[in-house]
Each structure stands twice: as C-alpha cells, then as structure tokens.
Symmetry: C2
Subunit: 373 residues, 2 copies
C-alpha cells in the first residue's frame, strides 16, 4: 500500500503504473525470498531483481508477491489449488500465477514456460496466458530450466490486459483493440495429439468453427507437414539434455532435497546424449523455417490449449502435450478461455502466430475471445 500511495503521487510512468503484479517464484526478486519451488533454496534472497521484474518496477508496477511455482518449474506439484474448484489442479508450473489472476489476487502475473507452463495453467484456471516470441522478454534472473525453450510469459484476466503488459515490457505503443481487423484467415489444426483431447474439447471446437466463420473469419482445416509430428520428440530431447545440465549443482550437492518425481525425470533425461540433442536442434531449426510457409496462407493457427478441463486431483499438474511444440518453435502462443468442459471448468483455445507477430496474435485473440464468449 505504501508503494501504491507513493506511485499515486508521481506522474504516470506507463499503462502499468500502480498495478499489482504477481511474480512466479522461479524469477528473482531482490526484496522477497526466491525459492524456485525447492527446499534447497528455502529463504534464499537474490542480490538483484530479474530483468523482467526490474522492467515492471521501472514501469511503475507493484510487485505484490511471489506466486507458487512447481519445483524448478518442472513437474512435481506444489500446494496451489485451482480457485475455480479446489479439488482440481491449477496446472503447472506457473500454478500460483495462473491461480492468483483467476482468483483476483492480482490482475497481472509473470510466469515461465518450457513446455506448457504458462498456457496449460491459464487454460485450467480460465484466464489468458501469453507466451511471447522466444527471448523478446529478457530472462536474466530467471532460474534456467532449458535455455533453448524457457520463455517468460504473461498472465492476465483478458487479452487487452495481457497486451498492456506485453507492450510495456518490450517498449511498444499500446495495441488499439478498436481497430477493424481485415478478414482473419484462421488455420485450424487438430494436431497429432487430437486423440488425447476429451469429448468436450471436440464438441467445443466443432461448435466454435462455424461461429467464427459466421462472424467473418475464413476458416480452413490444415494439416502440418510430417516433420512437425517429430517436434514432440524434439522438444523432449532438447529439454532432457538441457535440464540435466542446468541442475548440475543441485544434483551434486542436494540430491536428497530433490523430489522423487524430479529425480525420476532427470534419470530418464540423462539418456539424451550430445548426438540426439544436436539432431533435435537441427530438426527444430528446420521446422521453424517451414512454419513460415504455413503462415503464408493463415494469419494464425487455432489449436487446443490442453486435452480438456483441469484434471481432478492434485497429484499431477496435467499434460503440456498441446503446448510443447510451439515453445520449441519459438513462436508466440496465447490461450483464451472460451469453452466450458463437462464439469463446468474452463477449456481454452490456443492461438499461434509467426515469430515476432505477437501484436497481431493479441489482436486476433481478442477478436476470437469476443466472438466465442
């Protein structure tokens, strides 16, 4: 409150002036403990603010507090519950950030995504999650998980709020959502993971496509070249090789304080050797260029955000299978809460745009959000 009152006396620094923001606890803050979701770092106080936190403070935002992260932003669940139904997982690993925004604790939050750690929890909690183009939001002061994949993401109640946060962080002018969009060419891709999507997700998309067409969009069902099917294995190889090494220090000295879930994952990940990693990186580089061709005919791609609603129970944070490929392809992706599942929990639609077209993605996402809700 002191910070808010002080900011009220100042000229407005940015559209975020005076707004409270939650920060995932994988991101360093100089004035609050940063524990990376691990007992190894219990009470740890960094000597700096992460670059993204410093940028928020410079813009006049107030860091409300740290939000719970899954252990080292991986898989082992932490204590957060889904505010829409506490018996269900909030998703992970940006569990606390998604739950905080969904529950009204803060209008904005920072998360990170290596697989689906922003898109999945925001879909499960019924808020908007934006994973911007790779590396456009700086990662200095974010605990590395897999450096070829880790992306700082933004969580907000709606698309215009996410856009305000994004443009402020990258130093662009605000997005004008009253602007009339030209006819939107939407490519709907079921993805190879479609069989794992639940019935409600299938029904939701079947009903949504004609509604989007009726509202003026040009919808075409697309099938990406076979090389993209391998991007799921490619994501795993890159992630495996890198995470094993990123946690070298913790594995050497604090193995007993690493969860059994993570240890199991690490032991499996150790099987990815240099040659498989290099081949995965080569494949990813090629697919990134091939994706440019896909976007010649489509402004954005529409795909599921997750296999369905937030699963019941807190033993797992759900599956990131619908998100991983886009993280590895370095393109911006957003989830908007436009559907409902059979338990009444939200189901998101994921939209994907070409690398660097984050602004266009936000405009399209807002239009689709308005049409479908």
């Amino acid at each position: 409150m002191d910070q808010a009152r002080a900011l009220d006396q100042e000229p407005r620094r940015s559209p975020l002036h005076g707004l409270p923001v939650g920060v995932k606890d994988i991101i360093d803050t100089v004035d609050m403990p940063t524990e990376y979701g691990s007992p190894i770092y219990s009470g740890y106080r960094p000597q700096w603010d992460a670059a993204c936190v410093a940028a928020l403070r410079k813009a006049g935002a107030i860091i409300m507090g740290k939000t719970v992260t899954v252990e080292f932003a991986m898989r082992h669940p932490n204590k957060t519950r889904n505010p829409l139904n506490p018996a269900h997982t909030p998703g992970g690993s940006s569990s606390g950030s998604a739950a905080a925004v969904a529950d009204g604790m803060a209008p904005l939050a920072l998360g990170t995504q290596t697989g689906g750690s922003v898109l999945r929890p925001t879909a499960f909690c019924g808020v908007v999650g934006l994973k911007p183009s790779f590396n456009v939001i700086n990662r200095a002061g974010v605990k590395p998980n897999s450096e070829s994949l880790d992306t700082v993401g933004l969580i907000a109640r709606n698309v215009p709020d996410a856009a305000l946060m994004f443009t402020t962080l990258i130093g662009q002018s605000v997005v004008d959502f009253s602007e009339q969009l030209p006819t939107l060419r939407i490519g709907f891709w079921r993805t190879p993971q479609w069989p794992s999507a639940d019935k409600a997700t299938g029904e939701a998309f079947s009903q949504a496509l004609p509604r989007l067409a009726k509202a003026g969009a040009h919808i075409e069902e697309v099938d990406l070249p076979a090389a993209f099917n391998e991007m799921y294995a490619v994501h795993s190889s890159i992630s495996d090789y890198e995470v094993v090494r990123a946690l070298e220090y913790e594995r050497m000295h604090f193995a007993d304080q690493i969860s059994a879930t993570l240890m199991k994952k690490i032991r499996q990940a150790e099987k990815c050797d240099f040659d498989r990693y290099v081949e995965a990186q080569r494949h990813a580089a090629q697919c990134r260029l091939m994706l440019n061709d896909v976007f010649l005919d489509h402004d954005i791609l529409l795909v599921p955000s997750a296999a369905g609603e937030a699963p019941l129970g807190l033993q797992s944070t759900g599956d990131s299978t619908f998100n991983r490929i886009w993280t590895a392809l370095h393109v911006p992706a957003i989830t908007v809460p436009v559907f409902k599942g059979h338990s009444g929990l939200p189901i998101g639609a994921q939209l994907v745009a070409p690398y660097g077209s984050d602004r266009k993605l936000l405009l399209c996402a807002d239009w689709i959000h308005k049409v479908l809700t």
Copy 2:
C-alpha cells in the same frame, strides 16, 4: 593443494582429474567471490556453482581461481595485460582466462563469448580457444549478456587439451588424435572484413594455404552468399536488444557504477527496437540453414581469428569483427596460434564447422596446427 592431495587419493574420475582450471569471473562459484567485472558486485558470493563449474568439479577438476573479465563481459577494459608483451592488450572479454593459460598459471580455463570474447583473446595470447556449438555447454549460473549469443568457451594450451575438457564436459568419449583423417576439404573465406586485416595476416594466409595443400588438404577459396554479409549487422541488432534488457536492474539502481564505455554502448544499443530485433532473428535463422549448404562441399571453413596481432595499449581490447558472425550462427569455432605478426606476437587461424560437429572441428584443428607449426 589440499584439494589436489585429496583428489590424488581418489580413483580417477575423468581425464580432468586433479587438473587446475581458471574460471572467468562472469561465471558463478559458490566458494569464491564472483564480481562480473563490475564494482556493483564487489565481494558478491553466489549461492551456487554455475552448471559448468559443477560439471568440472564433478569430473575432479580443481577450480584454481577466478580470472579477470571485462565489465559484464562487454568492452570496457579491465586490468589484465598480455603475458607475451605487457604493453599489449590480452583481448577481451575473457582476458584473464586467455592470459592465465598463456602464462602457465593454469592449463585450462573457462571463458564466455557473445561476440569474440573467447576467440579474440586466445588469438592475441597465442593459445587455443574453442567456442563450442551454441548451448551444448550449459549456461546456468553465467551472468547473461545476450542470451541468443552467449556461449561458454574453453581455453587451453593446445587442441588435445581443449578436446579433453570439451568431451568431459559434454559426456563424450575422448577424441583420438592419432586417427588418420580423410582428405580435408577446407574452404578458405576471406570474409567481408578482409580489408581490415593487417599485412602480416594477409601474408600468413598466403603462405599457409599452399602448405596445407602440400600436406594433403583440398583447399578452395569460397565466397559465402550475400545474406552472410548482413550477419554482422544482425549480430549487433540481437546483441543490442538483449544486453540493454539483461542489465535492466543494474541500469535502474547502479547507473553511477557502470563505466562510461558501457553506458555509451547501452545508449546506442537502446535504438534497436522490437521490430529490428525480430527481423535480425529471422535473418539469423535463415543463414543458419544456408550454412548447412556451404558445408556440403567443405569439412571446415578457415578464416582469420582477428585483424592481426594484439594491438598496442590497454585502452581497448581489440575488435571482434572476425568472430561475431560465427557466434550468431551458433556453429563451433576454434582459434589455433599458427602465425606470427610483425611485432612477434601470435596471429591465430580460425576454423569453423557445422553445428554439432565440434569433434570433427577439434580433429581438423589439431591437424592444421601440426601442419602449420
């Protein structure tokens, strides 16, 4: 010495068992101060070892000490002198690591390269510098400068030593340098920077090419497609956008403790906006794939390591113009000290291989080193 004696009692953990290694002070060490070459971090003690330091300790190496880095691994010179002639710069930013190995303080050292910060100082100090393929050596615990470019590099007295350190760090078997190489197809590229190379460099390459051919290599002068000429500007755009953001916290709170050299660089770098950055990343991604075609006809590329010998004076660390493009292309590059300049200081030859072909690069570099010295 205590560590060395203790390791002597143990079974041999790796080829690096008991070997002393110097660590550039941009890389975190839990048992020694890490100051990033900046008064802002005077006396700072990290809570962890960087992943690459932990991996070295696990392999039984001894961290001898921290080596001087230029401020935040950028440009502003620090106190290190060139051990071959103290009136000359050792190069930067891995100044201390290159000088330590050249002076016999340690047989091995870690550096980092964002532009030419491993290849240039090692060329100036007459040692071997290896910048491996991007991200194959983990960067967790390395202070970020430009995350799309920063690469952990290795410094050694000769190629086989560099190879021992490299294969140990990535978990490969040792390289067998007695292996007979098939006829080496070397592409010699003058690069668009050739006019800035000094007379001695020109003479050295003119004499080296026939010697390599006589020793059995197939040498062809090549000219890369015009798109590669733009990679110099592309490197600057990526570096500019990212470094300004990576130092957000320090700029906000400790601007008075940032050198005038760095502040000037930051102010100029701030001109690179999101659109220019995105365009640069797109261009780099395309050139990385185009480079694969260049390597269809050549096992390696041979280019200068620097414009000439280490310049006289300590006001500047010299120019990284001959190294930057390869850092941005993410391919492995090595410098071997095979020539001498007019002041008697070393001049290096830089060799470049396809992404992931670090092992082949080491084999070729050793062969070339033997032929030319």
